[in-house]
Symmetry: C2
Subunit: 774 residues, 2 copies
């Protein structure tokens, strides 16, 4: 990565807390989201969910529903191409085909003139089922006699969507050399994304050409295009995807949501169809974070060198694999943590069960494994009588060391994050602090955090207009986090133009360059990279023309703030972008524009060093680091945990927009807080018990600590723009272990299962009293 030169930004726009231009329209309610769209003749789509967790479909009768006045189409799997979709395993039909595999699985789709008629039609659809035995637990699903959800795809248990093994060193022999060994089983919940905007799609079909236009809430216009094309068996060129304002996504809108089925309804009716999920439909039918059970054992020498770790991970992917095998990859890769542990044995299963599918969610397998690892490392410190930060500093990987599997750590800044976290949180003093009041206990805990930034491919086009203003076009979706603003700043900084002279376009699959997805902590990093590459090509074109116009060699030229090319050392000699563009358009060269494209080079497996089985992809990315600290107060009577204050220290490489980065970090912390303390999908016999905002508790304003201190360290490195690194996911990853370590620090309760509800904290406190302390 040292091959990426790091030019300094021109002007002062990079590093400025530029407000989001869409802030006002969102605050005033003027912003247009997909559900705000209305077109003449528009129908409304709804889906019928399965009442059974596992059943064979024997027959459909849609005649009554079709006969209801106002109903325009009733579709079942029989009306759709026999195509299954899926990012890794092609196992998901748009509507259940032959079988249902979870309660709520879409079985039929209706389009009608209004939502009420559509819902009424659902009640008139008759489906005959033969109920099959279900399985709800991932470990249980791997037993030989477990009910099987999908046809076997090869050797191994048919319920294993993936099975990974990573071994380094000689783990079996290493335990004997350990002075301290901690072993526990950790459990993490199926968390829901709870984006403010439930999934919504408006599909329009050109009656002459059959071309489909989708307006949809998504993280990726281009994947929606690809998946819809695949599902409906039409070429991608016949589908256009446009993305209105998006009200959050967090991984839940990486894969398709209701786009393909809405498009199918539009094709069936020849009319525009809008489908907007109710919150309950969204929670029941879309996806969640993978619930996980992790058996972990870690051993260290007395002087604090972590020697060995064994990990067994069960990711519950629900009824369909979705991104599960990729999540399992990340979970496995990160099972060693950001530490140089010489002997490691990781085994990971991604398992089908008869529940809602699990998929991508901010952190992507990493919050689960970080919870186990960082709680266990903390207990190891306790057992060794060491300060938790000290133990982590002693084992943290540094620049040039290898990650599990052999990928290089190119910018190993965990030490810097840990030291800064210790300093800003006043760690030493707060670790010693006395209880605040009778019945209340205070504690402070922390977690070291690592993640990757920069997955997969992107491209960008930059154009200089005739008047010297600039248009930048990418495929990146701003899901509300502000990437449009940050990426505009990147381009403005690369070319030295003010933001008022630059337009950054939202994606249109017809005309925008491809971007994979707003996910994987990659938008600022990866899309920012291709933008700087395209700007560099544009700069070369500008310099070539300016050289002819000013009669100076290119080597003497420089970009100047305000959109000028000047002669180095001659402040009075320059030519504006507008003049250069006029020259290019009317004298020589043609329009000034450039497209850049990039795919982060894949990690190379070091098979000399690591025994690897079952990885579905090698992955790629740039390691990023953080340290997170939480101070909590625990009510001894109720077990209720209040997070008082928090510190989140991140190496952002180079800050593009401090306010936006801090917003990401604070949002990540709060979502992590929900994961740690309250959020959990609860099922009973396959039925989701809490598919409402009343039953599923996300943190509210009163649950947020009085201060979440974001600390942005700048260690520019890697291909991100001006050395910037991503911050989107990493800000969530360490929150749960930091909070649980604080709970243990406050009370001694060893929280191994989150969310750490009052009930669970109390149970641990009671267990501890029964066992007479740890």
């Amino acid at each position: 990565m040292s091959s990426h030169p790091k030019p300094e930004p021109v002007g002062d726009v990079v590093g400025a807390s530029v407000p989001k231009p869409d802030a006002r329209e969102k605050v005033t309610g003027r912003a247009v989201y997909t559900d705000d769209l209305r077109v003449p003749g528009m129908l409304h789509g709804v889906l019928l969910g399965s009442p059974h967790a596992h059943a064979r479909i024997l027959s459909y009768d849609t005649s009554l529903a079709k006969a209801l006045p106002g109903v325009r189409a009733v579709l079942t799997a029989e009306d759709l191409p026999p195509v299954d979709i899926g990012a890794v395993i092609k196992d998901q039909p748009l509507l259940a085909r032959g079988k249902v595999r979870y309660v709520g699985e879409p079985v039929a789709a209706v389009a009608a003139v209004d939502p009420t008629t559509a819902r009424r039609a659902l009640e008139l659809i008759r489906v005959q089922y033969e109920v099959l035995p279900p399985v709800f637990d991932a470990e249980a699903a791997l037993r030989p006699d477990a009910p099987v959800l999908h046809a076997p795809r090869g050797p191994g248990h048919p319920n294993a969507a993936s099975h990974i093994r990573l071994i380094e060193g000689e783990p079996d022999g290493a335990w004997a050399k350990c002075d301290v060994i901690i072993e526990d089983v950790y459990e993490t919940p199926a968390q829901q994304h709870i984006y403010l905007e439930p999934c919504s799609t408006l599909a329009e079909v050109d009656p002459d050409t059959g071309r489909i236009t989708l307006h949809t809430s998504t993280q990726t216009a281009f994947r929606v295009q690809a998946i819809t094309a695949e599902a409906l068996a039409v070429p991608m060129s016949r589908i256009r995807v446009l993305v209105p304002r998006v009200g959050g996504a967090f991984g839940g809108k990486v894969e398709s949501t209701n786009q393909p089925i809405t498009a199918a309804l539009a094709l069936a009716t020849g009319a525009p169809v809008k489908m907007t999920f109710s919150r309950t439909d969204d929670m029941t039918m879309m996806r969640s974070r993978h619930g996980a059970r992790i058996h972990m054992r870690t051993g260290a020498t007395r002087d604090g060198r972590i020697l060995a770790r064994q990990v067994r991970i069960y990711f519950d992917t629900g009824a369909y694999a979705d991104d599960g095998p990729f999540v399992a990859n990340i979970g496995s890769y990160f099972a060693r943590g950001p530490y140089r542990i010489p002997h490691v044995d990781v085994e990971c299963w991604c398992v089908y069960t008869n529940k809602l599918r699990a998929g991508a969610f901010r952190g992507f397998g990493n919050p689960q494994i970080h919870f186990a690892s960082e709680v266990q490392v903390d207990r190891l410190a306790e057992a060794l009588g060491m300060d938790p930060i000290e133990l982590r500093l002693r084992n943290a990987l540094e620049t040039g060391e290898k990650w599990l599997g052999g990928a290089p750590v190119e910018s190993g800044t965990l030490h810097a994050c840990l030291e800064r976290a210790r300093e800003v949180s006043d760690w030493q003093r707060r670790r010693q602090r006395a209880p605040p009041a009778p019945g209340k206990r205070r504690g402070i805990g922390m977690a070291a955090v690592a993640h990757v930034s920069g997955l997969l491919g992107s491209s960008a086009t930059v154009r200089i207009n005739e008047d010297g203003s600039v248009n930048v076009s990418t495929g990146a979706v701003d899901t509300g986090q502000g990437s449009d603003t940050a990426l505009a700043q990147v381009a403005a900084g690369a070319l030295g133009v003010p933001l008022s002279q630059l337009h950054f376009s939202r994606p249109d699959t017809d005309t925008s360059p491809y971007d994979w997805c707003t996910g994987g902590t990659r938008t600022t990093f990866t899309v920012g990279h291709v933008i700087t590459q395209a700007c560099e090509q544009v700069r070369e074109q500008l310099f070539e023309h300016a050289s002819a116009m000013l009669q100076r060699p290119v080597q003497q030229l420089e970009l100047r703030p305000g959109g000028h090319v000047g002669v180095r050392g001659e402040p009075g000699t320059s030519v504006s972008f507008g003049a250069i563009s006029g020259y290019a358009l009317y004298v020589a060269g043609g329009p000034i524009l450039a497209s850049a494209r990039w795919l982060f080079p894949a990690w190379q497996l070091d098979t000399q060093r690591t025994h690897v089985e079952g990885l579905t992809s090698m992955g790629n990315g740039f390691f990023v680091f953080a340290a997170q600290v939480a101070e909590v107060e625990v009510d001894e009577l109720t077990g209720h945990v209040e997070v008082l204050e928090a510190w989140s220290v991140h190496d952002v490489g180079r800050v593009i927009n401090p306010a936006a980065a801090e917003g990401q970090i604070q949002g990540g912390f709060v979502q992590g807080l929900g994961y740690a303390l309250t959020e959990e999908l609860l099922w009973k016999e396959g039925h989701l018990l809490n598919p409402t905002m009343g039953g599923y508790k996300v943190p509210g304003a009163l649950d947020v600590p009085r201060a979440i201190h974001s600390v942005l360290l700048e260690h520019p490195a890697g291909p991100g723009p001006f050395g910037a690194k991503g911050v989107a996911e990493v800000s969530l990853v360490g929150v749960a272990p930091a909070i649980c370590n604080a709970i243990r620090h406050a009370t001694g309760a060893n929280i191994r299962r989150i969310p750490a509800t009052g009930e669970r904290v109390l149970r641990e406190l009671l267990a501890r009293e029964t066992q007479g302390g740890h």
Copy 2:
């Protein structure tokens, strides 16, 4: 140009008469034109026209109009930035400022809740004028004592918007060597474009950012963006232009129409504003073809060598220069015609008068000069006793010879066109044919035609989707002529994919690559060129990946129809575009896309050879040739001319879509027929007498000959796609002289002024009888 390799198209889509995909929606009325757009809160804009041809504005009183309920804004020049616009001379305010210079010139603009209220408000606007003496004739306007329209811009008459002189050889001395000399004064009318769709714009303004979105009927999204930005003094990046279906343009929508003033109304009101002209507003306020008066003298030796020509051209540009100086350039360049005349003296004025501005119109100065030249060459043939085709063949330029000014003729195919025209029209037989009936006379005439193809810059982006389908994006506007279809065929042929797997996007200035304009016979030629260049880059990317995938060197690879890369000589070994794209997106390289950009290199003046003064630009382009033949029947009693049959022979280089090319040629012939026989704006004391479809006669179905035979010759050459050349304008250029030569052949009447109305033909017949024949 021989540096442009000519790869053959892959597959059979190039050369096929693919139907336009938008044909059905247009025929069924479903197509959405700008005026079909409606958005919530939309206001309607109208303009107040000047009642005087020339007057000073003393004061405005808009208070009554503003007080009318429903009126949201009343603007005059005092409310606008003090900016004048214009392609060559910045002489046009959006609303008259200080002075009015023609009857109908916009003086004020109103936006109101409905069109009726808006029109009523116009009547309430009081403007005080001081009437000034007007001038209506171009030659009169150049007299020293003529009223002056604009402030002088330098030496020379202030009413001369441009003055050009081109001299080659020794014209003064050459006349003595001529055996025959013909001299006449020719006059051509101000023809109107009469696009089916009058000018229309919907302007929307983002209330938070002030960003302007224009939906408009135009030939060029990017020039509209530039001109509106200039007029309103905002950066181009703050303006987005989208182009719904366009109902014809023919040059009338090259420069701005009502876009800037509609945007100004939207900015003033903060609401969306739509302005759609009535036909009368459009005819009164927009622009026409330049009326011209041409004094021409041509001399030849007895054996048919044309030796000398003197030309004096007066282009009447009306009150504003608009594209007039460029039109004058073309008129001057083409004054020698496509003939090797060694001694030439051309002088050309583009002159302000107090009439509607004149600007671009299919042919762009060339129909005027071709009318004079081709009628005069025909008379020369007559005087020499030679067949008119024979005389032209003897003098036609061939490949490698120089145009007036020194530009090279790179593909001199006029001989081929003339010979083919002689053959297909059965020329010899029809020249001899007897009169059909008493009082009717028949004749056949022809014209040699030359034009240029390929002005100015363009760019294109081509993307391979994940499934191997293709998206092509350019800035080119399809004005109804079918360029979207032809350009899609170019891309499909360059890559070997079926059209069903390819999408060609309409322009969006936010995300599309720049294109200058759909004009200058350039869209298939120039945009087609950049598309093939972008496809070539994409092909290189495809081959590079395929080489890695197939383990073969790039040199052994070939494109195969259907979207495959195969190994040459091994029919069984290939890889699909989809597989290659998957490899690029997920293994190495990144998204497959490429942008190409181009500016036709400017012609180099040969100042050794040609004395040149006053050219506002050297121009550029690729010479294209045609021969047009018309057979007419003239009613001796009424002078009415009926065109019976026509032949239009074109070197199209390489035919992309025969049906579309024939459509262009037939449309051009009919528009030329109107120019020849019926179309003319008529003024009386500055007032346009016939600004309606009733008063201004365009050819109807009954006026069209029973057959217009389009003959497409293929002589691939030059940078156009696969050697294609343009056909859009050239199909109109020779029609008027061919028809008038046929009239003379039929009756002996020497038509020197068009349109050749019955009245004018009769007058010439009477004059001829009086003079006792020619």
